[in-house]
């Protein structure tokens, strides 16, 4: 187990993502943390330490893009990779315009994720 990699926080209301993605991130050498909602993440105290955010777009309560805006407002912008089960190129382009590193459509492969993470961490 390598637990020394950069802290990557996963925020998704889908349980299967919260279960599977941290294992993959760990395999890729990151330190993962999973949250079921934006509010849970904001209250977790890990906001400052998170170097990359993997964020579901559509969630009950605060949505992914709203969380991203909130972090910018608080002065803690975090490089963000959006993930969504709605394949919509228009939404993807807009999210990238608004500062997202990448927007991956579920299901995505590990290579695409790794590439996006590399890109995100280079930004910091």
């Amino acid at each position: 187990m390598k637990a020394t990699g950069p802290l990557v926080s996963v925020v998704d209301d889908d349980e299967s993502v919260r279960e599977s993605l941290p294992d993959l991130l760990r395999e890729l050498g990151f330190t993962p943390q999973a949250f079921s909602s934006a509010e849970e993440f904001l209250d977790s105290g890990n906001v400052g330490g998170t170097q990359c955010l993997i964020l579901d777009v559509a969630m009950p309560g605060m949505t992914g893009p709203e969380l991203q805006r909130e972090l910018t407002l608080r002065g803690h912008p975090i490089p963000t990779i959006f993930i969504t089960a709605h394949k919509d190129d228009f939404v993807r382009a807009r999210l990238i315009d608004q500062g997202a590193v990448e927007c991956l459509f579920k299901p995505f492969n590990d290579a695409a994720l790794h590439e996006a993470l590399t890109l995100a961490l280079r930004k910091t």
Partner: protein, 694 residues
């Protein structure tokens, strides 16, 4: 007896000389001839006999005869004179005036003297009691030229006088009537000259009797009556042939007033007159004619107004009207109908001419309509198109009602409305609506797809992520077997989740709950036909409907069954869309089927299908149409199967195909049998996707 006067003696003695009465007293017993008898008795036997003869003859006459001598005394009288005038022998030798009756002849003596003096006859009228006589005073001469007395004969003219009086009375009576009659009357001679007129006649024509004497009727009133119709008729009447048909003649009176006279005539046959006369009557009908004219004008004005009103209404509503005699093909069109068809008003309308304007694709509709009209006499309602010379289209809606006249001939009265604008806007609306429907269908399909994708992508994301992790764990050195096992387990779990999503989706799109009720398939079909008729007619489809009598009712969901019928009609209509070389004939038939089933068949003459395709027809998404979804028949079959029935197709012997379904009759047990199905359906509808979509 008084002796004769001396001055006459010689004469009178002479005059009776030679008369020898054979007998002293005549057989009749009249003593009026006493003197003659006495004189005659001295004569010879022959003279005696002659005197007796004369006396007998005179006594036998029924005319009273009195002989008066020149000295104005009665010389003799016959028996009739004795009977009627009451003369007796005592009157002989006395003046006639001594007789009470003869005293009534006041101027007798004067007249007798005149006759004696002149030798010529005189006469006088004489009335005795109720009788009239004409007394003839004739000269009496005894052989020589000298008149020596008079002979009075009394002719009874009572009856004659009475008839004259009657005639005078009748004439005055008739004249009175004629002059009282307000209608002018005119009597014409055979050559139509005016003989006389009544007072009204002279008053009306403002002429006098003298002015018109000898004129012909044709010269009256400035020649107003110089008419060949009058001439011919009067002539025929004179010739005794034909009856007069009253004539109306316009006539300007002397006061220059325009009058209309009704002339009538009758032949006047007078007994004893061979010449025919004509009675002509004039009736002044000016007032009546004027009233008629006013009434006619009023009626015409009203008619004109009504016609204008109708024409305007037809123009505004773009509706023309027509009548059509089905037997003779006599067709009458209103002005507006000419305008709609753009035919000249003087063109005689025939079915052939109408056919030239009908859109070629709609001609079978026209033929069908004509066939139906001729045979059935049913009311007609059709929609068809006109193809105008400039290639523009007109859409017409025809309604006609057949009526039979008293001879049983069929006539259609109908209206044709130009519904082009409405149809175009309807088509635009339909197009917009179908585009909208398509858009919304695509939109909802997109939303549905997205929703399905989302639901499936979530577990897929888990599966792929887990599988990737698994591979990486196995590829590690040393391999992380426990981790790989865990991720593989999660992969299976996510795979099951994806499968559940698909199951829920299938449940969502399976059937809805059905309402089972007894359904009259004929009635259900009729409703669908009513809804589809416009579409069918627009596609040039001729529909024959053959609904079985006393068809048993089936058990089912009326709306779903109607959807199936509608779908079959649409399919059949679509299959014939490109058929131009034959009639686009569709037949909808219902019939009882074996095993307590009811069958409905929709047969077309469309493009049909190869036999190897018949089963594929019912696969979802299979279609022979370029713009079809291919869902219709598959849905129809699932509906019919849900009714425990069967839906199948077969190719016709000729062109086209037939689609049939057969479902069980209603028995009352279906409702219970189908409830379990509904319960199952409502369970599967509780899935998450259904909630999201609802």
């Amino acid at each position: 007896m008084q002796p004769m006067r001396a001055s006459c003696n010689s004469i009178s003695t002479n005059s009776f000389e030679g008369i020898t009465p054979m007998i002293t007293q005549p057989a009749t017993g009249n003593d009026g001839w006493t003197g003659y008898s006495q004189l005659a008795s001295s004569g010879n036997k022959a003279a005696n006999t002659a005197t007796a003869d004369l006396i007998n003859i005179l006594d036998a006459l029924d005319v009273p005869i009195v002989v008066v001598r020149c000295d104005f005394v009665v010389a003799g009288f016959n028996k009739m004179a004795a009977d009627m005038l009451g003369l007796s022998s005592s009157d002989l030798g006395r003046a006639p005036g001594t007789n009470a009756v003869l005293a009534g002849l006041s101027r007798l003596e004067e007249q007798c003297n005149q006759v004696i003096a002149t030798g010529s006859e005189a006469s006088a009228n004489f009335r005795h009691e109720n009788k009239w006589f004409v007394v003839r005073v004739a000269p009496y001469s005894s052989g020589g030229r000298q008149v020596t007395g008079t002979v009075l004969t009394f002719s009874n003219v009572t009856a004659f006088r009475a008839s004259i009086d009657q005639a005078i009375y009748e004439r005055e009576y008739a004249k009175g009537i004629l002059n009282t009659v307000s209608h002018p009357l005119l009597v014409l001679s055979a050559d139509q000259r005016i003989l006389s007129g009544n007072r009204s006649f002279y008053a009306m024509f403002q002429v006098s009797r003298d002015e018109t004497q000898g004129l012909t009727i044709y010269e009256l009133g400035n020649g107003s009556f110089e008419l060949s119709t009058l001439r011919i008729q009067l002539k025929e009447m004179v010739e005794g042939s034909g009856t007069f048909r009253p004539l109306e003649v316009d006539y300007a009176s002397r006061g220059n007033a325009q009058k209309t006279l009704l002339i009538d005539a009758r032949p006047l046959s007078l007994p004893g007159h061979s010449e025919r006369r004509l009675l002509v009557t004039f009736q002044d009908i000016t007032a009546r004619k004027q009233a008629e004219a006013v009434e006619r004008n009023r009626a015409q004005e009203k008619l004109r107004h009504t016609e204008a009103f109708l024409a305007e209404a037809q123009h505004l509503s773009r509706t023309g009207s027509f009548s059509w005699r089905a037997e003779t093909d006599e067709i009458t069109w209103s002005e507006q109908l000419y305008r709609i068809f753009e035919f000249d008003h003087d063109v005689p309308i025939t079915l052939e001419l109408i056919g030239t304007r009908i859109h070629p694709e709609d001609r079978p509709l026209l033929e069908d309509m004509i066939d139906r009209a001729r045979v059935a006499g049913a009311d007609l309602e059709y929609e068809y198109r006109l193809l105008m010379p400039d290639q523009s289209l007109k859409y017409l809606h025809l309604i006609a009602h057949g009526i039979q006249d008293k001879d049983g001939r069929l006539e259609y009265i109908g209206a044709v409305q130009d519904v082009t604008q409405r149809r175009l806007s309807e088509e635009a609306l339909t197009k917009a609506r179908s585009e909208l429907a398509h858009v919304s269908r695509v939109a909802s399909l997109a939303a549905l797809t997205a929703s399905i994708a989302h639901e499936v992508n979530q577990p897929l994301a888990g599966i792929i992520t887990n599988a990737s992790t698994c591979l990486r764990m196995l590829a590690a050195d040393p391999p992380n077997i426990d981790g790989a096992r865990e991720t593989a387990r999660r992969t299976i779990r996510d795979g099951n989740r994806a499968s559940e999503v698909i199951t829920r989706l299938r449940a969502l799109f399976s059937k809805k709950a059905v309402t089972i009720e007894p359904v009259d398939l004929n009635e259900a079909a009729r409703e669908v036909i009513a809804m589809s008729l416009g579409d069918l007619q627009r596609n040039g489809v001729v529909l024959r409907v053959e609904l079985a009598d006393e068809l048993p009712r089936v058990g089912g969901d009326r709306v779903q069954l109607q959807q199936v019928i509608m779908n079959l009609l649409r399919n059949a209509s679509d299959a014939m869309r490109n058929v131009d070389d034959r009639r686009r004939q569709m037949t909808l038939r219902t019939a009882s089927d074996e095993d307590h089933h009811v069958r409905l068949t929709v047969k077309d003459t469309g493009v049909g299908f190869g036999s190897q395709e018949t089963e594929r027809l019912f696969d979802a998404f299979y279609t022979t149409k370029s713009d079809g979804m291919g869902i219709g028949l598959s849905v129809s079959r699932s509906i019919i199967e849900n009714h425990n029935g069967r839906l199948w197709a077969k190719a016709n012997d000729g062109a086209g195909a037939a689609f049939c379904f057969s479902i069980p009759e209603y028995s009352g047990e279906e409702a219970a049998a189908r409830i379990s199905g509904q319960a199952r359906l409502s369970l599967t509808r509780s899935g998450r996707i259904a909630e999201e979509l609802s």
